[in-house]
């Protein structure tokens, strides 16, 4: 078999000496993101069936427009004509879209840059990575942390509210689903790389820094969640979609929510 040393280089897309199924991972990520991203987009633009007392779909919280049901309406923007979820979706889209894990996921699965390790892609010196517009904007990730944590606060409030039925305290299947959902979303958000930096990653000398001890403990906590950030990202994405689906099915009367307590 003739091959020069430079000929060994992967020149074309997908060219590689690897014999394993390297394409399986990017393919499943591409399909998974399309499926759950697609569902989330569809659900956000519906503007109906997102509330089944006492459950509010996580995509619609906080509910800010005048079309929101009175029980969960926070502000009544009456100039807003579309689905109330659209008002807050930029936060979620911005946070997940610039997340270091999701960047890896879509750079590999959609941008094919690279599709997998040691597998050929479009070659050339035009590659700019995250050094130039538009991808340099990924550096804004930290700005989405605060709005996301505010939304997370509302989701915790909604979860507590999901224990209060018209006849008093109770637990339904939906209550548990909302609880699991908000725990997973918290595990995802509090494992954020940028938050890790702000918590203490940017500190060199903890014993010299102001509040160094507290920042060290905080940094350790975020680092603990950060270790499995990709897993939190996936599980929380899937569950948030399923939570919306459940509320939607209950609200539209397709299923009735079984009470446990």
């Amino acid at each position: 078999m003739q091959a020069s040393a430079t000929l060994l280089q992967e020149r074309r897309l997908g060219e590689t000496l690897r014999r394993d199924r390297w394409w399986a991972a990017p393919l499943s990520v591409a399909l998974g993101l399309a499926l759950f991203g697609g569902y989330a987009t569809w659900a956000i633009f519906q503007g109906t069936n997102y509330f089944a007392d006492p459950y509010l779909s996580p995509f619609y919280s906080p509910c800010l427009s005048s079309s929101c049901p009175g029980e969960v309406r926070l502000l009544g923007f009456d100039w807003w004509r579309f689905s109330p979820a659209v008002l807050i979706m930029w936060v979620i889209l911005g946070f997940r879209g610039t997340c270091y894990y999701y960047r890896k996921a879509y750079y590999r699965a959609y941008f094919i840059d690279p599709p997998a390790c040691a597998v050929g892609e479009h070659r050339g010196h035009r590659y700019q990575g995250e050094t130039a517009f538009p991808l340099i904007l990924q550096n804004s990730h930290r700005y989405f942390i605060l709005p996301s944590l505010i939304i997370l606060g509302f989701l915790w409030y909604d979860t507590l509210r999901a224990f209060l039925f018209s006849d008093g305290f109770g637990i339904g299947v939906g209550t548990l689903i909302l609880l699991v959902n908000v725990v997973l979303l918290s595990g995802y958000a509090f494992g954020c790389h940028s938050l890790r930096h702000l918590a203490g990653g940017g500190v060199d000398c903890f014993s010299c820094a102001r509040f160094g001890g507290a920042r060290y403990r905080l940094w350790r906590g975020v680092s603990f969640l950060n270790r499995k950030h990709a897993l939190w990202a996936w599980v929380s994405l899937i569950v948030v979609c399923l939570t919306d689906l459940y509320v939607r099915l209950v609200a539209s009367g397709v299923v009735s929510d079984p009470r446990i307590l």
């Binding site: 078999m1 003739q2 992967e10 390790c117 050339g124 590659y127 550096n139 930096h197 000398c205 950030h229």
Partner: protein
């Protein structure tokens, strides 16, 4: 034990070919053993770089079935018995002969990183006080054995050939070892952003996948450094705060 076929790159930068060798595989054999056996019995001129055979010197790096690996730590029985095992040199560096590549570019990059600079001593006898918990973070990066497998697999170097613009994951690990050390006071974010080209890394984590020392290169070295660069150079709010503080 069974006979295995090894398909090994033979040649130089200008020309070469993959040559098949049959090797009697023994229990627990690693790819480097097979290369040594080929060298001893069939091709005495086969060029292979190695030293410790214990995964600690970082010399025996090559690509086994297309994946960057330490050949001394890659077991032959990890691969299906009925298929040949391909061994090729690292692709991101120029071949000298057979499996030996010229990795001297890496040493030049290492020299350019702003070196460790300690703050002034804490005590009159010239000593410092640091706590074990503070140095823990930097310890992970000291495990690097300079095998350059991460440099080899990184698509910025391997595919896009940005050797002039990007320092590569191995030296981002080195920079992180200095940067996160409690005594160090050097400011490296401008270097990392400009000459180091940290923005070229698109955090796709191939370096982490191949590191034989299991250093969490992307999560623990590169991303924290990227965040430091953001703080220093990109965050408009912090820029404003710094400007106000200066006046």
């Amino acid at each position: 034990m069974a006979e295995r076929v090894f398909r090994v790159f033979r040649g130089t930068r200008e020309r070469g070919e993959l040559v098949d060798y049959r090797v009697e595989a023994s229990e627990g054999m690693v790819v480097l053993d097979a290369l040594h056996s080929i060298q001893a019995r069939q091709a005495p001129d086969l060029a292979v770089r190695w030293n410790c055979k214990a995964g600690k010197c970082g010399s025996c790096s090559a690509e086994v079935n297309g994946s960057p690996r330490l050949t001394c730590m890659t077991r032959v029985d990890d691969f299906p018995a009925n298929e040949p095992i391909t061994v090729t040199p690292m692709q991101a560096f120029p071949v000298i002969k057979d499996l030996v590549t010229d990795v001297s570019w890496n040493y030049e990059v290492a020299r350019r990183i702003p070196p460790f600079r300690a703050r002034s001593p804490d005590f009159p006898d010239g000593s410092w006080r640091i706590y074990p918990y503070e140095v823990e973070r930097a310890q992970e990066f000291r495990k690097c054995i300079e095998c350059f497998l991460c440099q080899d697999v990184c698509h910025v170097l391997r595919t896009h050939g940005k050797h002039a613009e990007f320092m590569g994951p191995a030296f981002l690990v080195r920079a992180a070892a200095y940067e996160t050390h409690p005594l160090d006071v050097e400011e490296r974010s401008s270097y990392l952003k400009d000459e180091g080209g940290i923005g070229y890394c698109n955090i796709t984590k191939c370096c982490t996948e191949v590191c034989p020392e299991s250093i969490q290169i992307t999560d623990n070295a590169i991303i924290p450094l990227k965040e430091r660069v953001v703080t220093r150079h990109y965050d408009p709010l912090l820029k404003l705060v710094r400007r106000i503080a200066r006046h």
